[in-house]
Symmetry: C2
Subunit: 175 residues, 2 copies
């Protein structure tokens, strides 16, 4: 019952993509660089975001990722399900209908009480994540993050989007 | 983010143990037989229940499992955590403090907004499971299960606890 690290990476990437001007993109390599994650590790999370329609992958020399819809229309649940999939935590295998006390399957209530309780709990979890939009999280970063870190992010974005070379760039693959 | 099948098995075993008279026990083999699960598969779930103080393993020829406390004092959360462990779903690796925009760690708010939202969601999940006691689930079974299945369970328990031999018993290991 542990989320993969890819959920954290995907959520932070979506937050950074919120900060892009219209029509700008960030490559997978730049997103990885910003978050201090090896780019090959991050690829799967970014593909998951694209597969779920949260981000779009724009091809070409100046291509990269951008959000597919406004941050107010993306919830933290969307991001979690994009990476983790939409399977329920609990899968009822109907063991109440097995063993020596079993009777005809049609005689049982539609849902086992254990499965129903598990379902209520997961519904509560999903509802909480669905109430949290990426726009709200981004606002929280703008108000709560250290001002010096926000300034550094603004500078990094400016340099990255204007294509200015930085030390070490010659060794990197920008695609 | 999928629970192991062992959670379902453990929860159903706890429900069956609710039906035992005081001081009676059921062996792992009988618990497995009742639920139509191979006994070696079930062993780990039963050990988890014992490890969490939900069930006790009584040694000896007439030994087996019984509940360690009243069903009203055991929640579905207790059973889930016994089998799955108590780790949080989401582990924040603090990637906000990495990469080119990082500043001194002490400058950041105590908790990342993403981690805080994940924490709220898991708290809601846990609260739901904690509200569901095994006593309530057992009452639900008594009121909702097919009467014929309840009668068969009562007969199976009577035979098992009185030690009457049944067809096929010669081939089984009762320990």
């Amino acid at each position: 019952m542990r989320m993969s690290e890819g959920v954290e990476w995907a959520a932070h990437c979506v937050l950074l993509l919120c900060a892009l001007p219209d029509d700008a993109t960030l490559s997978a390599v730049r997103l990885a660089e910003y978050h201090g994650i090896p780019a090959p590790y991050l690829a799967k999370s970014l593909q998951a975001l694209a597969g779920a329609g949260i981000a779009s992958s724009i091809p070409g020399r100046h291509g990269g990722y951008r959000l597919s819809r406004p941050p107010s229309k993306i919830t933290l649940l969307d991001v979690v399900l994009a990476v983790e999939g939409n399977d329920a935590f609990f899968r009822c295998t109907e063991i109440r209908k097995r063993g020596p006390s079993r009777v005809a399957a049609r005689a049982y209530p539609a849902m086992c009480g254990i499965a129903a309780a598990m379902d209520r709990a997961e519904t509560a979890w999903r509802a909480q994540l669905e109430q949290t939009t990426i726009a709200e999280l981004a606002t929280g970063v703008l108000h709560g993050a250290p001002p010096a870190a926000l300034n550094k992010t603004a500078e990094w974005l400016h340099q990255t989007l204007s294509g200015k070379p930085r030390s070490g760039d010659g060794k990197r693959n920008h695609s």
